[in-house]
């Protein structure tokens, strides 16, 4: 028993140290690309020069299990980078193409670092707009109906991929979005993307609350279907 208490004491004493080292990793290896304090870009210039997604409200946006995994083995989410304008050129036939060589490989963390960093990021909750707990109510939609909404009715497919190599390229892939982001955050973001990111080049289509829920059902169904 004594031994257990001793190891518990050591554990408790070391815990803040791990947190501190998460903070150190963030400051030394992440802050040059990610905004950890806010606010989001408020001019086009700031939007164009943003080097990575804002993380100052990571705790309300991301799922920690996904983040910890991804940081150890990052893969591309935005086919044309943060701001496509920096990674696109016009080919000889007048067709714009992505300059893949200009996209950066994401730094990779060790399991211990990923855990520590995720923990520090999850404490960041300075959300620019309210995210309501329980806003998403799980439900179902067929993939066929979901795709009809995403493409024909609302035109979202123009900018987002619904499976690897199918769909638009200027926005993040959506077939992994519910693995990455919290559903309650998605409700708030789809209601008003500019409330989180005032200059972002995703339109506000004034979606009905019912349709927002359906889109999230659809993303969840897609994530089941398309295991990359």
């Amino acid at each position: 028993m004594k031994r257990h208490i001793a190891s518990l004491v050591v554990f408790l004493a070391a815990a803040p140290l791990w947190a501190a080292s998460g903070e150190t990793v963030l400051q030394e290896r992440c802050a040059q690309c990610h905004d950890l304090t806010g606010p989001a870009p408020s001019t086009l210039e700031e939007l164009w020069t943003r080097k990575g997604p804002d993380l100052f409200y990571a705790g309300v946006k991301y799922k920690p299990e996904w983040m910890e995994r991804w940081l150890q083995n990052p893969s591309r989410i935005r086919p044309a980078g943060m701001f496509y304008g920096k990674h696109v050129r016009t080919g000889p036939d007048g067709q714009d193409v992505i300059d893949v060589a200009s996209l950066v490989e994401h730094p990779r963390l060790s399991p211990g670092e990923a855990e520590a960093v995720t923990r520090v990021l999850m404490a960041k909750k300075a959300t620019p707009a309210p995210v309501q707990e329980g806003a998403y109510q799980p439900g179902r939609i067929s993939l066929r109906m979901g795709e009809l909404m995403f493409d024909k009715f609302k035109g979202c497919l123009a900018c987002h991929q619904i499976e690897p190599d199918y769909g638009g390229l200027s926005g993040p892939e959506v077939y992994t979005v519910t693995e990455r982001l919290r559903e309650d955050f998605l409700v708030a973001y789809l209601r008003d993307p500019q409330a989180f990111d005032p200059k972002i080049f995703m339109p506000n289509k004034k979606l009905k609350e019912r349709d927002i829920q359906k889109f999230i059902h659809y993303f969840r169904a897609l994530a089941q279907e398309v295991k990359p």
């Binding site: 496509y84 035109g155 638009g168 200027s170 339109p203």
Partner: protein
């Protein structure tokens, strides 16, 4: 004038003289919000087009663009394609752009087509 009044006057002058935050140009707005579909050159060949069922308008097509009034262009940008019985793939930008920004975009599209309404 005493010192405080002078200070106040100086502060007021400085405030009046401070440049208003620069309004982005039509070209900068286009390259941010429109080029993803309409292309960096405005020719309708942006990175998103491959899987789009309706292709974005070529804004350098002076014949087509001359057939549109500035108000129609403004409506397309603010309310989206559906407001002109066109495709939903042309999004509404009314809640993202200020009215002066929409005007700047219309002026930039007129530069791209090198045309005015009725004058290709």
């Amino acid at each position: 004038m005493n010192a405080a009044q002078r200070l106040l006057a100086a502060a007021t002058l400085a405030w009046l003289a401070a440049p208003a935050p620069a309004q982005p140009s039509g070209e900068d707005l286009y390259r941010t919000y429109c080029a993803q579909c309409h292309g960096l050159q405005g020719n309708g060949k942006g990175i998103n087009v491959r899987d789009m069922s309706v292709q974005p308008r070529d804004h350098t097509d002076s014949k087509y663009m001359a057939g549109r009034t500035d108000d129609e262009l403004r409506t397309a940008v603010v309310e989206g394609g559906q407001a002109l019985s066109k495709s939903v793939l042309m999004p509404p930008w009314g809640s993202v752009l200020e009215p002066q920004e929409v005007d700047a975009l219309v002026a930039y599209m007129r530069e791209l087509c090198d045309c005015q309404h009725g004058r290709p």
